[in-house]
């Protein structure tokens, strides 16, 4: 549908758990700078799709391409170096690390001075060099650390005064909403080309959700390519360039927010799952 070259290209991606097909032959294209949302009732396979794209799970079939390169089955630590960052639905901050350290870990792959990349036969010495540089701290390493810290502060400033006053607090002591913010800050510190957000506003109240929506909108404006999973359909409709709808592992609709909203199959999918308790909140919105 888009003439721009795809940044992310997913073809016939499939993942089965025993008898259950959690992701069933899903195709997906994401152009550079595009904002695509994935919606669907609970258990539709959205998170599993994210896991397959980000290397946390291996597909039973299908391919994933990023910038034209086949990344199917590559481990997550490689994908990070290519510029793919994600957040997790249930939150995975480093609980005993401070807010600042969490964000700095997000920038891990960008620390070059302290982690010299050596050509293949020498690369075995990499870890030794890393320890040595961490202990000796030549000025290049010190400046790099300083630069990253400044950038981390700029990232954290995006969240107003939610996180800045708590830089040194371990994240286990933060509120739930703040932990989600730290996760997004950490993802931004990677300097991602593609950002995957799995229900970033889950468990947030209305004010917090609105705040998060503004932030994500800003990220979109800055040209970042974003893939979003979200149950709050108002937000999805306002932010997305395109929406795909999943149900029982398959894509059942794909198009502009307005098209998807009025698609009978979509309304059916949401209503059909009315008895599943978690999705109830989103049913009225979808049926409106």
């Amino acid at each position: 549908m888009s003439a721009a070259p795809s940044l992310l290209e997913v073809r016939s991606l499939t993942r089965r758990f025993g008898g259950l097909t959690a992701v069933n032959s899903v195709d997906l294209d994401l152009a550079e700078g595009e904002f695509l949302s994935v919606i669907g009732p609970n258990g539709a396979g959205k998170t599993t799709l994210f896991n397959l794209i980000t290397g946390h799970d291996d597909p039973d079939g299908g391919t994933v391409k990023f910038s034209g390169r086949d990344i199917t089955r590559l481990p997550p630590e490689w994908l990070a170096t290519l510029g793919i960052a994600r957040t997790f639905q249930h939150g995975r901050v480093f609980a005993n690390l401070s807010v600042m350290d969490n964000v700095l870990v997000g920038a891990h792959v960008r620390f070059k001075a302290v982690r010299p990349a050596w050509p293949s036969p020498l690369s075995l010495l990499g870890p030794f060099a890393e320890v040595a540089l961490a202990l000796i701290r030549p000025s290049s390493v010190v400046t790099e650390e300083k630069r990253m810290r400044e950038e981390a502060l700029r990232i954290l400033a995006r969240f107003g005064d939610r996180l800045l006053p708590r830089l040194d607090h371990p994240t286990y002591s933060l509120s739930y909403a703040n932990r989600r913010r730290v996760e997004i800050g950490r993802a931004l510190a990677l300097g991602p080309k593609l950002l995957l957000l799995d229900e970033p506003t889950a468990g947030m109240n209305q004010t917090e959700t609105a705040e998060m929506q503004t932030l994500i909108g800003d990220l979109k404006k800055s040209g970042l390519t974003i893939l979003l999973i979200e149950h709050k359909l108002d937000m999805v409709m306002q932010l997305s360039d395109r929406v795909i709808v999943m149900d029982n592992g398959s894509v059942i609709a794909n198009g502009k927010p307005a098209e998807v909203r009025n698609n009978p199959a979509v309304i059916e999918a949401y209503l059909g799952h009315r008895r599943s308790d978690k999705s109830e909140a989103s049913v009225p919105e979808a049926a409106e």
Partner: protein, 607 residues
């Protein structure tokens, strides 16, 4: 014994005994996802209960067995009630550490009551043998087989056809779901501990009768063998545990036939490592099955570590350095020197277990590698002692990292078991590699400590040397933890999945941390060898591994200052109060238990 028939019978009989242990471990693991390190202690208690009954009261065999079953079951109930139930909701590693503490306490109590000397467990069955073809089979063999098969049958009936047995199976499948369906999970736990411990105790009795020999130190080996058999068969899998036990018994028996007795345990542990690394679900699991997962989670209790300013630390170090001038008491100096050396071990383990979250239970092996390396380098190659100690650190780092590297993909308890086995393998290789290590004789005449040609022959100079090495390595570790590596390693520990998705290659950083940590342990072992002037394969035994872990938990996991404080308290204080050696191990066990229960963050807090 000469024929293969005899070796096979022997292997199967030993396999039966292992099965009695392993089935209990599998049941316990099934319902509580716990590897019970106190199981060997129950086995020892069973053996001694039988010994007491037979020698003091002359009980006939059937009555002896009943008594042993009762004692075992009661002990199991007590362990479950007082040791483990209070830990519900704690980190997953907490109950495991508690069972280690319990086993220390039980073993030590047995030893204090009955003395560490071996005893004979007389049995009228021992002499009776029947001729079968070219081989013979003993009446005792038949009894053991009958008890093994009988228990398996009873257990099968219980699990299959009784209500409680059904509850046990339901709990093993999904504890939360079972609880929601109204299964009394505590009752299930109690039952399982009672049954498992009764079987373990009988196993101890049978072994005692079979070899006509019991001693308190059988406990640790029994736990290990049970764990090996269980892992080989698939953790938590009862029929698998039986098959694994038979396999282990046969492997050991044929191994002895081919290579001799001293290799016996080596085979067991190598089998364990191979299975763990290649088929972590056991030999009999289907391939696609995911391993039982909820075994991750480190022992990091959220806490605010006590902040000690660098200036204060410097002042304390200076005071320690000036101590020999103020208080030139050789006894105090030797005690503290010892504490500094354990402090080095603590630094090592607090980095590996605390900062990175790899709970190593075989850390003494690194001391052993360092000790032997420095001793042999200086003795056989005439290397100057300072240099040999440095190289000992490097060798421990390289060898230690290489040995655990294949196990890095294991998580939680599995990794702990692997380190335990690797520790045992190292000590067995030292015992058997005569041409390099002088085997059981040990290495004597190790040159005393010296530095740049100056012999350190006073208590004072040795004290300063050990303190200096400790301060330098502690300072380096501080600096490392304050670099990007500190947050990288701790991030891995807190959430390895999130860490990976931010580009942290787990193997690389685990190896890096393990190498750095092993260096300190190797140096500690090296210095110790020169201080003792004699070492053998038992100098750095597995008790030291547990002591190291207790030191580290006492100080606060990952806490550099804490490791040193823990070492001064656990190694120094008992010495100052001249606590007798056998009570010390008891104290370690009790301290470990109390810490796990009441102060998991340690004295200075986890970092």
């Amino acid at each position: 014994m000469s024929s293969w028939f005899d070796y096979t019978v022997n292997g199967l009989i030993i396999g039966n005994i292992y099965a009695l242990l392993a089935v209990g471990l599998a049941l316990i693991f099934g319902v509580s996802r716990l590897i019970n390190f106190a199981h060997g202690s129950v086995y020892v208690v069973g053996a001694y209960a039988g010994f007491l009954a037979v020698t003091q009261f002359g009980t006939p065999l059937p009555l002896t067995i009943v008594i042993v079953v009762a004692v075992g079951a009661l002990l199991g109930l007590a362990i479950e009630r007082f040791g483990l139930r209070p830990l519900q909701g704690y980190a997953h590693i907490a109950p495991l550490l508690a069972t280690i503490g319990i086993s220390f306490v039980l073993d030590q109590l047995v030893q204090l009551t009955f003395s560490p000397d071996p005893r004979a467990l007389p049995s009228e069955l021992l002499q009776k043998r029947f001729q079968i073809g070219s081989g013979t089979i003993g009446a005792l063999d038949i009894l053991i087989a009958a008890i093994g098969i009988g228990s398996a049958g009873l257990l099968y009936y219980f699990l299959r056809f009784t209500r409680l047995g059904w509850a046990v199976r339901a709990t093993a499948q999904d504890r939360d779901a079972a609880q929601q369906m109204g299964v009394d999970v505590d009752a299930v736990n109690r039952t399982v501990f009672a049954i498992a411990s009764a079987l373990g105790a009988v196993s101890g009795l049978l072994v005692g009768m079979y070899y006509n020999y019991i001693d308190p130190s059988m406990s640790f080996q029994a736990t290990l063998k049970g764990v090996v058999a269980q892992v080989v068969g698939g953790v938590g899998n009862v029929p698998g545990a039986i098959a694994g036990s038979m396999l282990l018994g046969l492997v050991e028996s044929y191994g002895i036939a081919l290579f001799g007795t001293s290799y016996r345990n080596l085979f067991a542990f190598i089998l364990l490592i191979v299975v763990l690394v290649l088929r972590p679900n056991g030999l009999f699991a289907s391939r696609r099955q995911t391993p039982p997962e909820p075994m991750t989670g480190t022992f990091i209790a959220p806490s605010k570590p006590v902040q000690i300013s660098p200036r204060t630390l410097l002042a304390i170090a200076l005071a320690a350095a000036l101590l020999p001038l103020v208080l030139p008491n050789p006894y105090v100096l030797q005690t503290l020197t010892n504490a500094w050396l354990y402090g080095l071990l603590g630094l090592s383990l607090t980095l590996i277990a605390g900062t990175v979250g790899l709970i190593s239970l075989g850390h003494a092996a690194l001391l052993a590698i360092g000790g032997y390396a420095s001793a042999l380098l200086s003795l056989d190659l005439g290397m100057p002692v300072g240099l040999s100690i440095l190289l000992a650190g490097v060798i421990a780092a390289a060898l230690g990292t290489l040995l655990v590297f294949p196990s890095f993909r294991l998580r939680g308890h599995y990794l702990s078991i692997a380190t335990l086995a690797i520790g045992e393998i190292v000590s067995l290789v030292i015992l058997n590699w005569d041409s390099l290590t002088r085997g059981p004789i040990g290495v004597s005449g190790i040159p005393p400590l010296s530095l740049f040609g100056f012999e350190l022959d006073t208590d004072r100079s040795v004290y300063w040397f050990a303190l200096g090495v400790l301060v330098v390595l502690a300072a380096l570790q501080f600096r490392l933890l304050r670099s990007h590596l500190g947050r990288t390693l701790r991030a891995m520990r807190d959430d390895d999945i999130a860490a990976r998705s931010y580009g942290i290659g787990l193997d690389r950083y685990k190896a890096l941390a393990f190498a750095v940590g092993s260096f300190a342990a190797g140096v500690s072992g090296g210095i110790t060898a020169h201080l003792y002037s004699y070492i053998n394969h038992e100098t750095f035994n597995s008790q030291l591994s547990i002591l190291a872990l207790t030191i580290v938990i006492l100080g606060g996991m990952g806490n550099v200052t804490g490791a040193i404080l823990g070492s001064v308290l656990l190694v120094g204080l008992p010495e100052v109060f001249r606590v007798a050696a056998e009570y010390r191990v008891l104290i370690y066990g009790i301290v470990l238990l109390l810490l796990v229960r009441f102060r998991p963050q340690g004295l200075l807090g986890t970092v």
